[in-house]
Symmetry: C2
Subunit: 329 residues, 2 copies
């Protein structure tokens, strides 16, 4: 295992110590907790997200003005515990309530739910938006239903803009539930991620193989094939998404190409370019496009493709709006 780390068991704490120094103008780490709270985002509903670590910049990198009020960081690929989530809720609530944005994994759902109940006992209003954008497979290693993956970042961004505008907790919950239904993602892996404490890749792919539909923790996908060109990969993923979306001529769409950790930006733009060409042949209007590492899987080589169908123009503006966070340019 080639990694720039110290003790495998301390990667999250070491990372958070570095992160909170670098971003001290914007973000405060709660003493004794793996919770990062925005120093801004006051006088608005608080958005809290989080999950296992290893997906950086998600989720801590999206804390800041215009996105999340707080993030909770679990161990690598492991849900944070309810007490940690509760602290994030309490520290970020401005009296206007807290919206939890949770990726659909059994552990996360359970722990965020428990934290919600505990917060409600302290008279904090809490709602949850569950993200399950990965259409690769139904049910998976850590999930009942579909997994939550890179599309979650678009939820952070759009609801973050709406929260800054002053929408209420009830409005954000309703908008979020509707939004999630229009966001779909599918990934492809060329290599697996290596969890530091495990020390070897989570699965094995041959030198000339790729796997479609792999999850961000290395959960199995739906098809293993010989290595393809970017164009062929784009064709496969767009077709799969097209079957699920049923693209409409009068709708507008957005694309997120997300690097899974060790994929050079050059390849991500090349892949985007091929996705765009596929979308053009289907006559799909692209109103928004974003390329980069947003929801990674440690050192996995690969990309995910997220498509969002916009319901209103305000969603496009919400995505384009400038924010002040460590991880979203």
């Amino acid at each position: 295992m080639k990694k720039i780390i110290n003790k495998s068991s301390e990667v999250v704490d070491d990372m958070l110590e570095g992160f909170s120094f670098v971003h001290q103008d914007l973000i405060e780490k709660l003493e004794g907790f793996r919770v990062l709270v925005s120093k801004k985002n006051k006088n608005q509903v608080s958005l809290v997200s989080g999950g296992g670590s290893g997906h950086e910049p998600a989720h801590a990198g999206f804390v800041g003005e215009g996105m999340l009020s707080a993030a909770v960081c679990g161990e690598v690929f492991t849900s944070p515990t309810p007490d940690q989530i509760l602290e994030a809720i309490k520290a970020s609530d401005n009296g206007q309530g807290v919206l939890l944005i949770v990726k659909n994994y059994t552990g996360d759902v359970m722990n965020f739910d428990m934290a919600k109940e505990l917060a409600e006992m302290e008279d904090i209003k809490v709602e949850t938006v569950l993200v399950d954008d990965d259409i690769a497979v139904e049910d998976s290693t850590y999930t009942a239903g579909k997994r939550g993956v890179a599309g979650t970042v678009l939820v952070h961004k759009i609801l973050g803009a709406y929260a800054r505008q002053g929408k209420t907790l009830e409005e954000l919950k309703e908008l979020g539930d509707a939004l999630v239904k229009r966001i779909k993602t599918i990934g492809v892996a060329l290599t697996a991620a290596t969890v530091p404490e495990v020390g070897k890749p989570g699965f094995e792919l041959k030198a000339d193989e790729l796997e479609y539909g792999v999850g961000i923790h290395g959960e199995p996908g739906y098809l293993r094939e010989p290595l393809k060109s970017s164009k062929d990969i784009a064709k496969e993923l767009v077709e799969k998404l097209a079957r699920s979306f049923n693209f409409k001529d009068d709708s507008q769409y957005g694309i997120l190409v997300n690097g899974l950790g060790s994929t050079p930006l050059m390849e991500q733009y090349i892949f985007f370019n091929d996705v765009k060409k596929e979308m053009d042949t289907l006559n799909v209007q692209i109103e928004y496009a974003k390329v980069g590492n947003y929801m990674t899987s440690l050192d996995m080589l690969g990309v995910s493709l997220t498509i969002i169908e916009f319901d209103e123009d305000s969603e496009v503006s919400a995505l384009k709006e400038k924010v002040d966070t460590p991880g979203w340019e």
Copy 2:
């Protein structure tokens, strides 16, 4: 070779086609050229940079408000030709002159110089700031003198802020020449990069080896050793930089930890944390810190560490100022 590409010979054009679609609000690609020009940055001195491709987000990702006016993209790890550079100069000049920010490689220096001469024949005022921040070795595979690496990005950012404030070409040239002397970088590689047209890594490191001082094109470093902890790597690089800087108690410093392409952000923050601790033991004041992929080497696994000694507070503000570019949050 596992890469998400189509033809090896077309990676730069495919990337630029994708890039210019994604960033069309901000950046225009000149028809027939590998030149990207900011749609903003008017009424100011134009900053132009560039070099071989494969270092993304450098240099195209730094085109935009508050940084570069234009970037010229060569083939992978290959200098752009003078005619391409000339187009970038002509397209971005607002009548106030053009400052070229050039990394010190023989090919780049020669081609940017030639473009400067051609532009001057068309009555455009041009000055050059040469960046040679890599202290690992004197002279190298493609260089006489020291190489230009990640520190270049800090030059883009600081001079970009100054240019936006309205400084003249002569002022920028003088400030830039002084600035470059106070920026020093050193890198470490755990794996080599694979150039698409070559198809195999540029050099071989064993499974348990790293190499200190490797260049961003895989140029040889100064020491090959068994794999170390992040803490030990930080100690080695900080000590090497300390010998070159002679840190002063009353000076302020900034740190850039730069991922070389396939290094997870988690590891970059862990490494930063260890660098910070080393600097603390030396009583060095850190006024600015930045972590992420800025000057990469395709899929190289590793990091570089850049330290800047600030001369005035305005340099810290210039680094912190918000910009609108694809690659700098």
